[in-house]
Amino acid sequence: MLRHALRIAWKDLRIEVRSKEIFMTMAFFGALLVVIYSFAFPNDAAAIRGSVPGMLWVSLAFTGTIALGRAFDRERENDTMRALLLAPVPRLAVFVGKAIAMAALILGVAVVVVPLLALWMNAPLFAFPLELVVSIAAGAFGIAIIGSVFAATLLKARSRDVLLPVVLYPILLPLFVAGTKCTAGLVAEHPNLEAAHYWMSFLGIYDAAFLVLSLWVFESLVIE
């Protein structure tokens, strides 16, 4: 299954490398958010330490939603989702492949947004780089896993662009809370690594639980 999932993910990324449509939109939007934060939030060090975790995770949530909506729209354009579901591979491979590609795009945007936040907001985001990378990766996979299920389910809904964030964000709320708390522990004046590790574990468990749930329900949700 993993071989087919990687083939599908590679196909998505290949199309993206060629069109650059989704990544450029996400990256530009992410950068724009950082600019808005720099005007909207107080600029003193204590306030930055308090607000930069929220800025980071809100950016990942918003840009991730753009990626999810557009990536699944592509599968709708020539009804290619049907072609994937018709292929003699486990239908879960389609889900896993799309989720891997989504996670890669979100991680790509994080590579743009995190340095921008660190520079513009003068935030100590790179104090614990390993923990930061692991928590963002766990968050990106969580957004991709849950988002892919909902984006695929809403593929034929008329107002899917509006519906996707409305149904997605409440379910992703624990992930955003955990991500924000984890980053807060890393950028605090007196870093709290114990809390950061706790929230990283929470992110891992949350991802694993939703991965199992998504694998279980995906096929029944996408077949008409």
């Binding site: 199309i15 020539n78 072609a83």
Partner: protein, 235 residues
């Protein structure tokens, strides 16, 4: 697992909300036959193809796929199905060759992409161009190549002659006739009776989700026979 010999559609019903798309349709499809699925727009033809292709789950009834005495299910069935739908099922950003290589990879077949593109008559210059730059007719040829690439034993075609010029439509009709002779089960949804005349030996006419006429024939139906059947039953 072998090629499909028989597909048994048993009292298949499908509703979309309050809209009835299929109401207890039963059909038997056999290898080496070509079934023309006819009917007005909204008669349920595309939904029936969806059910047979495993992409639409019926509310009641079932479809059984047999290879000899063995009953095939899941991936083994999907491996045997070739589908040409209204949409091309191809990625616009990828070229014809890349689209078909993706399909070959997913189906695990080492098919010759060039040979299939030759077969459907997609000009060599266009094959490395992004599919979004294709004309309707070229896209239809690519979609057909996609459906034929895996050498399916059940070929489902929804309006396959759309976008093709007269010559292309007749050539496609000939290809379908040859596939039928090779033992493929061919199901064609079409309004172009001329293109399938002389090739189809099984006609099923749907009206408002119900099968109103089914006729098997030893000899392929002529254009006049098809026209007569259609006007008597679909109207």
């Amino acid at each position: 697992m072998g090629r499909l010999d028989r597909v048994h559609i048993d009292k298949v019903a499908k509703r979309y909300g309050t809209e009835r798309a299929l109401a207890g349709v039963s059909l038997e499809l056999e290898r080496g036959t070509m079934c023309a699925l006819l009917g007005h727009n909204g008669a349920g033809k595309t939904t029936l193809l969806g059910v047979v292709s495993t992409l639409v789950r019926p509310n009641s009834g079932s479809v059984t796929y047999r290879s000899g005495d063995a009953k095939l299910t899941g991936e083994a069935v999907r491996r045997e199905i070739g589908l040409l739908a209204h949409a091309s099922l191809c990625y616009g950003e990828l070229s014809a060759i890349e689209n078909l290589e993706l399909v070959a990879g997913l189906y695990g077949v080492a098919a010759s992409v060039s040979a299939v593109l030759d077969q459907v008559g997609l000009e060599p210059r266009a094959r490395t161009r992004a599919a979004r730059t294709y004309s309707r007719g070229m896209l239809q040829r690519l979609a057909l190549a996609r459906a034929l690439l895996t050498k399916p034993s059940l070929l489902l075609l929804d309006e396959p002659f759309t976008g093709l010029d007269r010559g292309g439509a007749l050539a496609l009709g000939e290809q379908l006739g040859a596939l039928k002779t090779d033992g493929t089960i061919v199901v064609v949804v079409t309004h172009d009776l001329e293109a399938i005349a002389g090739r189809t030996d099984h006609v099923a006419i749907l009206k408002r989700g119900k099968l109103v006429c089914e006729e098997h024939s030893e000899l392929p139906h002529t254009y006049d026979q098809l026209k007569d059947l259609y006007h008597r039953n679909a109207a």
